[in-house]
């Protein structure tokens, strides 16, 4: 058990689509489970990374302060950090808010929007604050590998992880490289 490769995953400003796509490796997950153990991840419900994770898979870009903390935890705990999917790589769809000033976004959502009652911008200290821009994760921490796609296909996950586990330098053939 202890010899297994520890993999942690999370979704920051993402849609969990990359996680869904990962699970599309279907029955190959059994093969994977022979050599891999999942640490912090939505599929295990473990809340914090163990300190000795081998691989961290990050879906989604960085849109708020909580994302920054999570990302730092992953960077600190994982030997290899992987940006998974369009949002982690360049901000993706959430980053399309970057071209509207944050104040306008919040006012539209919480103050002036149609049907808003008790207009007020949420200020509970429990809530993470939004960054003025949604950023790709490599602008906040050092990233070792990138898996493009929206989402990357199950085969991308499979190819990447099997390469890495087998000690090969991961590479993606032409058919697996997609940004959409």
């Amino acid at each position: 058990m202890t010899n297994k490769i520890r993999v942690a995953t999370t979704s920051l400003a993402g849609c969990f689509g990359c996680h869904m796509s990962f699970l599309d490796i279907d029955e190959r997950i059994l093969e994977l489970a022979e050599v891999v153990v999942f640490d912090r991840s939505p599929i295990t419900d473990i809340e914090h990374c163990s300190t000795d994770c081998d691989i961290g898979l990050i879906e989604g870009g960085v849109c708020n302060s909580e994302n920054v903390h999570t990302l730092r935890e992953f960077r600190k705990s994982c030997k290899i950090l992987v940006a998974v999917g369009a949002c982690a790589i360049n901000g993706g769809l959430p980053a399309m808010r970057n071209f509207i000033p944050l104040e306008e976004c919040l006012n539209e959502a919480y103050i002036n929007g149609i049907g808003v009652e008790n207009a007020q911008i949420p200020n509970d200290p429990e809530l993470p604050l939004l960054l003025d821009k949604v950023r790709p994760i490599h602008e906040v921490v050092k990233v070792d590998y990138f898996l493009p796609g929206c989402p990357p296909s199950a085969d991308v996950f499979w190819k990447f992880l099997t390469d890495l586990i087998a000690g090969r330098e991961p590479s993606l053939p032409y058919e697996l490289v997609h940004y959409d």
Partner: protein, 595 residues
């Protein structure tokens, strides 16, 4: 306005090639180019409005939105910084009540940075409505503030404010003995034009702009092009920060320069010549035109020059630039002469075969034409006797920065850097920027090196830094300069110079971490090897030449962590904090993870 523009276009003979001249006049009159003016000019010159908008947005001195009636631009070159540019900027902001980069609310005055104004030996310098203001002092700024508030036109301001000095300190072959107007042409006609070209060939004269192409060969190639329309262009777009020798040559030796151009015209068979004068030298424009008029009277320009056996007809037109360093690149300069954005052309074809309006064109530097004129008088041997094997004759340097006597020095090729430093009284030297930002930074361990094409080539810029100066400040100023001046034509330079600027800022501002210098150097190599023209190919030189000599300086800027964001994380939460009215601990982020 309609009549103003009609008159203007008539004066410019409805020539679309004169677009810059037209826009300069409109900008001077209305302090921007109004939309209606664009429409009218497009109709009258029969060019698409997009060409006009493109030109306006390309050149720094043209604006689509109103500037002040007094457009004040302060020179942002490193030498201006060293002479107190920041203090003067603050004083101007306070005294004129206008922030840098803004137009005062009453519209009377606007204030902004501009690239090197070529007054490096008498900075900090500025331009007011295009006219050079050397050596700014608080007293002069007080005086200017009064003049502006009285709304006195710049033409009526005291002349002493515009007193630009020549500061010629060391003269040799070119500067020591003036030739008489017409002397070079007389001698050349007497000797024969072919023989005169041979003399120039024998002199070993190479282009003085920095690239060093052999002048006689260029003239020969151009003359061999079978057409009856050849063009001579004098490149006086002296934009390399730290260079000002062409300003002095055109102020004190203009006859020599025009004589050299006319000689070239006679040899290659050109009837038309242009002096492309950088916009920053507007103060020379009228006097240069007066000299051209004199030369017409003397029979040195116009029809059948000097009544020579060979029929030489030649005219020179002065065209002003409008704030674009790239126009010093010869093909960009030609585009600009044609009334377009100054974007360097693809080569081949080279200008000698297809230049201005597709005609064979010789483009030479101011100093080159002057040297050619003197060689025509004194012979090739006279010139070749000085200098080194590969670099004949002398080089005129613009010396500025930390020395007792900044100014113009004509040195013999092969002169050591140490001898030049001794000449100008430079002490406690840290390093010298040779050839301007696009050239080389050398350290004080390399003072035995020589000014020569085969060692340290320079178009004339020679900026001295003493040990009180911070190398990274210098490099940062130069790197910002290139990002500002990139024409944007090719990807590696357009994007690369801005990436270089951002990456260097990150390091200089103390946010760099382990991999950042490596990333910087990789980017430098990419911009250097992949860019379209000399600007991009040299834009990384300030970083590369200092990184090579002072790697420890860059390393010292780096934090001992593996990564730090290139943007301010906590500042990125500012808007959200304000809107949620929060300032608790969780409402902040540290720049790097603690512990």
């Amino acid at each position: 306005m309609q009549t103003f523009i009609e008159d203007l276009i008539t004066k410019n003979n409805y020539q679309a090639t004169h677009l810059l001249a037209v826009l300069r006049a409109v900008q001077a009159q209305y302090h921007h180019i109004p939309k209606a003016a664009i429409e009218q000019i497009a109709k009258l010159l029969l060019i698409p409005r997009t060409q006009i908008i493109g030109v306006i947005e390309f050149y720094s001195f043209f604006h689509l939105t109103p500037r002040g009636q007094y457009e004040l631009l302060i020179s942002d070159s490193i030498t201006d910084h060293m002479l107190g540019k920041h203090e003067m900027t603050a004083y101007i902001e306070q005294k004129l009540n206008v922030k840098l980069g803004e137009v005062r609310t009453d519209g009377l005055v606007s204030f902004d940075n501009t690239s090197c104004t070529g007054l490096c030996d008498q900075g900090p310098a500025a331009l007011i409505n295009g006219y050079a203001l050397p050596h700014l002092t608080p007293a002069k700024i007080d005086q200017m503030a009064d003049l502006i508030n009285q709304q006195l036109p710049v033409s009526a301001w005291p002349k002493v404010l515009f007193d630009v000095k020549d500061n010629v300190i060391k003269s040799s072959l070119l500067l020591a003995h003036c030739i008489q107007p017409g002397e070079a042409l007389h001698t050349a006609f007497k000797r024969g034009l072919k023989e005169t070209l041979k003399e120039i060939d024998m002199s070993g004269l190479r282009g003085r702009g920095g690239a060093g192409f052999k002048t006689a060969t260029k003239w020969q190639y151009c003359s061999e092009e079978k057409t009856d329309e050849h063009i001579v262009v004098c490149n006086a777009d002296e934009g390399e920060p730290g260079t000002f020798k062409d300003r002095v040559l055109l102020n004190a030796y203009a006859h020599h320069v025009f004589e050299g151009m006319t000689l070239c015209a006679a040899i290659i068979g050109a009837k038309k010549g242009f002096l492309y004068l950088r916009g920053e030298y507007l103060h020379l424009y009228d006097q240069l035109n007066a000299i051209l008029a004199d030369r017409h009277k003397l029979g040195l320009l116009g029809q059948h020059i000097l009544g020579a056996d060979v029929d030489v007809d030649f005219d020179i037109e002065i065209c002003l630039g409008a704030g674009a360093y790239i126009c010093g690149e010869e093909s960009a300069l030609i585009e600009s002469l044609e009334g377009k954005m100054g974007v360097p052309r693809n080569r081949p074809p080279y200008p000698v075969t297809q230049g201005y309006l597709g005609k064979p064109t010789v483009v030479n530097n101011v100093e080159t034409f002057m040297a050619a004129a003197k060689i025509a008088v004194n012979g090739g041997e006279w010139f070749a006797a000085m200098g080194t094997e590969k670099s004949k004759g002398t080089k005129i340097l613009s010396i500025c920065g930390d020395c007792d006597n900044p100014g113009i020095y004509e040195v013999t090729f092969g002169a050591s850097i140490q001898s030049i430093l001794d000449d100008c009284g430079a002490k406690d030297v840290l390093g010298i920027q040779i050839g301007g930002p696009s050239g080389t930074f050398i350290s004080n361990t390399e003072l035995a090196r020589k000014i020569a094409f085969e060692d340290l080539a320079t178009g004339g810029s020679f900026i001295i830094f003493n040990n009180t100066r911070n190398i990274l400040d210098i490099v940062n100023n130069f790197t910002h300069f290139f990002a500002h001046e990139s024409c944007g034509f090719c990807t590696p330079c357009r994007v690369g110079t801005s990436l270089l600027k951002n990456q260097l800022d990150k390091i200089v501002n103390g946010h760099g971490s382990a991999g950042d210098v490596v990333a910087l150097e990789e980017l430098c190599q990419l911009v250097k090897t992949q860019s379209h023209c000399g600007l991009g190919q040299t834009a990384a030189n300030p970083i590369l030449t200092t990184l090579e000599r002072y790697p420890e300086l860059y390393q010292a800027q780096l934090k001992k962590i593996s990564y730090e964001p290139g943007f301010d994380l906590d500042a990125a939460l500012e808007t959200a904090r304000r809107l949620a009215n929060r300032d608790d601990a969780a409402a902040h982020l540290t720049q790097v993870e603690e512990g």
